[in-house]
């Protein structure tokens, strides 16, 4: 009995060969009920073309390495089951709106610098000395921001966001959600320091609440919600500063 197969159309780009754009290459891979697109890609690399390059690690949806566009939708390839795409063909491309280094590998330096720019650490006006012990936080206080700690930096949200696609300098969903993770943390006092970036047109206000970022997020971080809440606090902050320019924090 002939084995079932499914066609993968994979984007290729190998700059060392002096090519500018190779386009799509077709592979007929074995079809198994329990396989994901990552399995298919690894099969191609093992059996057909060892030069195919792509990132992956945990293969179980927690590391955020294997993000790619599958049939035009941003997905973790370890989370994209072949049976959902059968009979195919399945189009596999590098994550949208990022420069491509090679095949399915993207350059995410822009993403990393955005994450760093919003100061993703606890900021205190004054550090507590060690002798005074740890910062106490109730379960409810943790629950207040916990959702936004779940981000695995997979960048799917950036590939889903049309503003990322049209605006060079938009901060983007993950960065703003991360900023909110700290702003809503009871131990943090750095809201004002992040406000310059968040309250800017290239920060929270660039977002038009399309909502695609939250739809593709594999960890239900809901960056769209985080950004809208950031807009609300930014607005309230603005009024507060209007009324009390030199007032309390």
């Amino acid at each position: 009995m002939t084995e079932k197969t499914i066609e993968l159309q994979v984007y290729r780009y190998q700059p060392e060969n002096g090519e500018t754009d190779t386009g799509f290459q077709s592979f007929e891979v074995p079809y198994h009920e329990h396989w994901v697109v990552l399995d298919a890609l690894n099969w191609v690399k093992d059996e057909v073309d060892g030069t195919l390059s792509f990132r992956w690690s945990c293969r179980m949806g927690v590391c955020g390495s294997c993000g790619m566009m599958v049939d035009g939708d941003a997905k973790l390839t370890c989370n994209a089951f072949l049976k959902d795409y059968y009979p195919g063909p399945i189009r596999v491309e590098p994550l949208s709106y990022f420069p491509v280094e090679r095949d399915l590998i993207i350059d995410f330096n822009g993403f990393m610098s955005r994450l760093k720019s919003i100061k993703p650490w606890i900021i205190r006006d004054e550090e507590k000395p060690l002798e005074e012990g740890e910062y106490l936080q109730s379960p409810a206080q943790l629950a207040f921001f916990k959702q936004y700690t779940m981000c695995i930096n997979c960048m799917l949200c950036y590939s889903a966001c049309p503003v990322v696609g049209t605006e060079e300098n938009f901060l983007g969903p993950a960065a703003i959600a991360l900023a909110q993770r700290y702003n809503l943390d009871s131990r943090d006092q750095g809201g004002e320091q992040r406000e310059d970036l968040l309250g800017d047109d290239e920060g929270g206000w660039g977002c038009t609440f399309v909502g695609e970022c939250s739809r593709v997020c594999p960890k239900d971080v809901d960056p769209a919600g985080a950004i809208q809440r950031a807009k609300v606090s930014s607005m309230l902050n603005w009024y507060k500063r209007l009324i009390m320019p030199r007032g309390e924090r």
Binding site: P162, T166, E167, T208
Partner: protein
């Protein structure tokens, strides 16, 4: 504002009032005019119209920016919010003149 009030108002002006609003009925001219002339109703109507106009202006401006007119953000502000302001002014004058 617009989400809360507009649907029911469309129902009224588009469907209910024209068809059951003849003289002597529930929604005769006297009744409708009397109702709308009440100062509180005038105020609420003005608020609904003004806020809805600004909300629509804001969204339309963003739509235009999204489809490529991003550079014209400043000009669009003047056109869209300006139009909303004019509309609100007209609403006020009509309401006062009732």
């Amino acid at each position: 504002m617009s989400a809360l009030f507009l649907p029911v108002m469309i129902l009224l002006t588009g469907f209910l009032l024209p068809f059951i609003g003849g003289a002597g009925s529930h929604a005769s001219y006297e009744r409708v005019h009397g109702l709308v002339s009440f100062w509180l109703v005038k105020l609420v109507l003005f608020a609904v119209i003004a806020f809805s106009l600004f909300h629509c202006a804001h969204r339309i401006r963003h739509i235009l920016m999204d489809v490529g007119l991003r550079e014209a953000a400043g000009v669009l502000s003047v056109i869209c919010y300006g139009a909303a302001l004019v509309g609100a002014g007209i609403a006020a004058s009509f309401l006062i003149g009732l």
